[in-house]
Amino acid sequence: MIPIEYFLVLAAALFLVGLAIVITKKNAIVVLMGVELMLNAANINLVSFAYFDPILMQGHFLALFVMVVAAAEAAVGLAIIIKVYQYFKTSDLDKITELKG
């Protein structure tokens, strides 16, 4: 079987790439992609540990719920992005610096 470290290293690398995307990209949609990438990295960790827990499968379920939450987040996030775009006429995060509602 594949050693668990492999998965962990891959997940760490994906997480860092996702974090870099979140920080550097200006477009809100790409930032959202970065967030998805980070969530997936976490999921890989969960599932790789759950491999050793075939009875209760806690990691599987947590990963599953993370996916659902990610889906919800993507839906709400995109709705907000579209609304923000209508209001500010841009989806660049560095131009949206107004904090008041």
């Binding site: 860092l16 995307i21 809100a28 987040e73």
Partner: protein, 174 residues
């Protein structure tokens, strides 16, 4: 460790996943980034299969590839100001991000290799998982995990209603 077929599959799809992510990081074309994310998600689904998580792999395909990606591409289309041109994104904060990722990466690396996983007892237990885990998932979801399952269902419903409400056409635009 002998080089078996699983290792090969892991490296192939792991590198696809990683390269997909890196491509998002370095491309400025938003649509290409979205398709690259699709590749990453598919590769991760294969990795789930390697980990005996076939139900999760299917879910990954359905939710990410089929759902989230489509929403994202819709989003790209909705927020593209110049319909005749592809959508591009700029970058900023490059140096701090580099410092941060290198720093965090170093910490992850060091902390991962501080651990000797093969010495852990549960690592070496006998696993005799045969066939699909879907049956087990179904039983557990409606017994042990019924409450989180219900809650997540409600959450999803609320999120969807909320998303529709937020994105609705505002009739009293000034």
């Amino acid at each position: 460790m002998e080089l078996n077929i699983y290792i090969l599959i892991f490296f192939a799809f792991g590198s696809i996943a990683l390269l997909g992510g890196v491509y998002i990081l370095f491309t400025s074309n938003v649509l290409r980034a979205a398709f690259s994310l699709l590749a990453t998600m598919l590769a991760i689904a294969v990795l789930y299969l390697l980990l005996n998580a076939d139900f999760l792999a299917i879910s990954q395909l359905l939710i990410y590839a089929g759902g989230i990606l489509v929403i994202m591409i819709f989003g790209v289309m909705f927020t593209n100001r110049f319909a005749e041109r592809a959508m591009y994104t700029e970058t900023h904060n490059r140096l701090p991000a580099l410092l941060l990722t290198v720093g965090l990466g170093a910490i992850f690396y060091v902390s991962l290799f501080q651990l000797n996983f093969s010495s852990l007892s549960w690592q070496n237990q006998e696993l005799n998982v045969q066939g699909s885990i879907i049956e087990n998932v179904g039983v557990l979801m409606l017994s042990n995990y019924i409450l989180p399952f219900e809650l997540i269902a409600v959450l999803l419903l609320i999120a969807l209603v909320g998303a529709v409400y937020v994105a609705r056409k505002d009739h009293e635009v000034k």
